[in-house]
């Protein structure tokens, strides 16, 4: 092996968390090398606007391909990690949807943009209801970082003054409510349920990704180098110091095995890939909880309605073009009957045609319904908190390897009564609000999508003050290995109902500034 100089900081992963680490560290004058498992995409070269009939399967997903990526379709199938190339396993009857993107920028290229802060109802959940653990930090600790992240991502929102829906540094959304959403708000008031403006990252020129908001700043410092198309196999430590010394990786295409030495390693490969790497490297697990407390969010339960006044050609943007967010309202000051924690409801209305699956009809009868109901659709869907259980965990499946001979992950998790009862409450409450608003309920579904569907897998490398019960400290630094940081969603203690992106970014920013200061002081 030809020896090279160690890099100062090796960042593994180029999504939101890796991008933020690169930006912060390089802006503080620290040289970084970022490794990414996949290639750099160029939308001008790699995409084309096409008609479904020109595609091989007439717009259907290729049979048997990506069965666990419900979000995949004939158009986007080539953006997701191939499940046969990077397999994983799960217990029989406990399906898990592990949804991955290895293109440079990761899932930050395609995320939904919903942008929320966790509240202390989530960060101090155990103090509130006795289950699980509190995070070692509070909203007050994260708030300054949230504000800076919201500024970079240009989060559009409206301040509501609700403790469970913390306000932020917003591009003010003072747009008027459309008529259908105003009716939902009135129904919510009658039920004591707040209906608020949703919050989303506007980004720049329509993109809110590490590739346009974070990595360019890092590259502009001249202190970031990047290698795409390399899959990290293992991290190794110096036997004398116990510190991470090097990362072994394999070139994705040529299969050439190489290694790089680093003074510090920042893992940002995505929750389960970061944990998988640590498990395969057999590192950072004196607590025994590495891989445990896997969480995500309940999605899939919801309802579809019709606004009668928008039917038969009477739809308009003033009545129907809108969205809202019902933030958590359960288990704040009162206790729900059969579940703890809470959920939010995404609400959408639109002037577009309705999905024919909302009608138990066919042929001319169905067409007549579609013509009549076009432009009257109103939907609500759950985003619910999943409880963190020790038993819900990932481990290495020694019988399966990926295309580069790296042992695969085994996922062992399932939803419990808490999640199912929460989903039922969400749908029933949505129905009550819809009926109070004068909407016709067409379809409803109580069944959550499989665990993992939300693409918000979190935990397995949780932070805490106690090295005996956590993998990381409150700075996302390994308790066991001082020059190892994990800055993606793996550090989460609980998930809340909120899309985790803003929190991942804030934690990555905070951890990176801490790391930079520690390096400046010579402590690391």
């Amino acid at each position: 092996m030809i020896a090279r100089e160690p890099v100062d900081v090796l960042i593994i992963g180029s999504g939101h968390s890796g991008g933020m680490a690169a930006k912060i560290l390089t802006e503080k004058g620290i040289s970084c090398l970022i490794l990414n498992a996949g290639p750099i995409a160029d939308v001008h070269k790699d995409t084309e606007v096409r008609q479904a009939y020109t595609l091989p399967w007439r717009g259907f997903k290729q049979p048997g391909r990506l069965p666990h990526v419900f979000q995949s379709n004939a158009f986007n199938a080539n953006t997701w990690v191939d499940e046969k190339e990077v397999p994983y396993t799960y217990a029989c009857g406990q399906s898990y949807n592990w949804v991955r993107v290895r293109l440079f920028g990761g899932r930050s290229l395609f995320w939904s943009r919903q942008s929320f802060r966790l509240s202390d109802y989530e960060l101090k959940a155990k103090s509130h209801d006795g289950f699980g653990e509190d995070w070692p930090i509070s909203l007050a600790d994260l708030a300054p970082y949230y504000s800076r992240v919201e500024g970079i991502f240009r989060v559009k929102g409206h301040p509501d003054g609700l403790p469970q829906y913390p306000d932020g540094n917003f591009v003010l959304d003072d747009s008027p409510w459309c008529g259908s959403m105003q009716r939902l708000r009135s129904a919510g008031e009658q039920h004591g349920i707040p209906v608020c403006k949703a919050r989303e990252s506007l980004g720049v020129d329509g993109l809110a990704s590490s590739v346009n908001l974070l990595l360019p700043d890092a590259l502009a410092t001249g202190k970031l180098q990047a290698i795409p198309n390399v899959v990290v196999r293992e991290l190794r430590t110096d036997p004398k110091t116990g510190l991470i010394r090097e990362a072994h990786f394999v070139d994705r295409l040529s299969r050439r095995e190489m290694s790089v030495e680093a003074r510090v390693v920042v893992l940002a490969a995505g929750t389960l890939e970061s944990t998988r790497l640590l498990l395969n490297s057999k590192l950072a697990n004196s607590s025994g909880v590495l891989g445990h407390y896997l969480i995500d969010q309940v999605y899939g339960a919801g309802l579809v309605c019709s606004v009668p006044e928008a039917r038969d050609g009477r739809t308009s943007r003033a009545l129907m073009d809108g969205s809202a967010l019902i933030p958590r309202f359960r288990n704040l000051n009162t206790k729900a009957k059969n579940f703890i924690r809470g959920y939010a409801l995404n609400c959408y209305s639109g002037t577009h045609p309705m999905d024919p699956r909302n009608f138990a009809a066919y042929g001319k009868e169905l067409q007549d319904k579609l013509d009549s109901y076009s432009g009257s659709g109103f939907s609500m869907g759950i985003m619910g908190e999943v409880l963190a259980h020790y038993e819900h965990h990932v481990s290495i499946d020694k019988t399966i390897v990926d295309a580069w001979n790296i042992p695969a992950l085994h996922v062992d998790t399932r939803y419990t009564d808490n999640e199912f009862n929460m989903a039922k409450d969400a749908v029933d409450t949505g129905c009550e609000l819809a009926e109070a608003a004068g909407f016709e309920i067409l379809t409803k579904n109580y069944e959550p999508n499989p665990p993992g569907y939300s693409i918000h897998e979190l935990g397995t490398c949780r932070m805490g003050n106690e090295p005996r019960t956590s993998v990381l400290n409150k700075w996302c630094q390994s308790h066991d290995i001082k020059n190892l940081f994990v800055v993606d969603g793996a550090s989460f203690v609980s998930c809340g109902w909120q899309n985790p992106t803003m929190t991942i970014l804030a934690l990555a920013m905070r951890a990176s500034e801490y790391l930079a200061e520690q390096m400046r002081q010579g402590s690391i």
């Binding site: 995409t47 004939a74 199938a77 042929g363 390897v401």
Partner: protein
């Protein structure tokens, strides 16, 4: 490779094979195929200037699509079509492809459901009827014939999307599970 950079683009609008050719292979039996064609005609006839499922070549396309689908999907279709045929025979003494629209409605309507994405009905007959209805609609609306009808009526094409080609593909894939 000489001259390739200098050559002007080939101004050729490719045909899709369906435009001029038919499939030479068959998955469904003759009875199943006949039942599928009848189902296509009933569930999605031509309406308002748009082609029906038969005109769009949907039965033939679904025969191909299901033939290369995982076993569970092949079973849903094959057993569902057999069931429809058996029901028609049991109730009306004729195969499904010979039933009238009233008779077909009596067989189909009890199983129609409204449902949300990723959550089709789970009762076996309801699952088949609603999933095949959705597939028939998708295959028809995504057909070239449908697209031509949209253009003729001045409608926005419904099947348009941003297609991603494989990005720097690993052509030396070795992804079969080993050890």
């Amino acid at each position: 490779m000489r001259g390739l950079m200098e050559a002007p683009p080939l101004h050729l609008t490719p045909l899709i094979p369906d435009a001029v050719a038919g499939s030479t292979t068959r998955f469904f039996t003759e009875r199943q195929m006949a039942a599928l064609r009848q189902l296509c005609e009933i569930l999605m006839p031509p309406l308002k200037g748009y082609p029906g499922a038969i005109d769009a070549g949907t039965p033939e396309f679904l025969d191909f699509l299901i033939s290369v689908s995982p076993a569970d999907r092949r079973l849903v279709y094959a057993s569902g079509l057999d069931w429809l045929d058996a029901e028609a025979d049991s109730r009306f003494g004729i195969p499904f492809d010979a039933v009238t629209s009233v008779q077909a409605d009596a067989l189909i309507r009890p199983w129609l459901r409204s449902w949300m994405t990723d959550h089709p009905p789970t009762e076996p007959h309801a699952h088949f009827i609603n999933v095949v209805h959705s597939d028939i609609r998708t295959a028809t609306i995504n057909s070239e014939k449908w697209n031509q009808a949209e253009l003729a009526t001045g409608e926005e094409p419904s099947g348009l999307g941003l297609y991603w080609y494989p990005v720097d593909p690993d052509i030396d894939k070795k992804y079969l599970p080993r050890r």
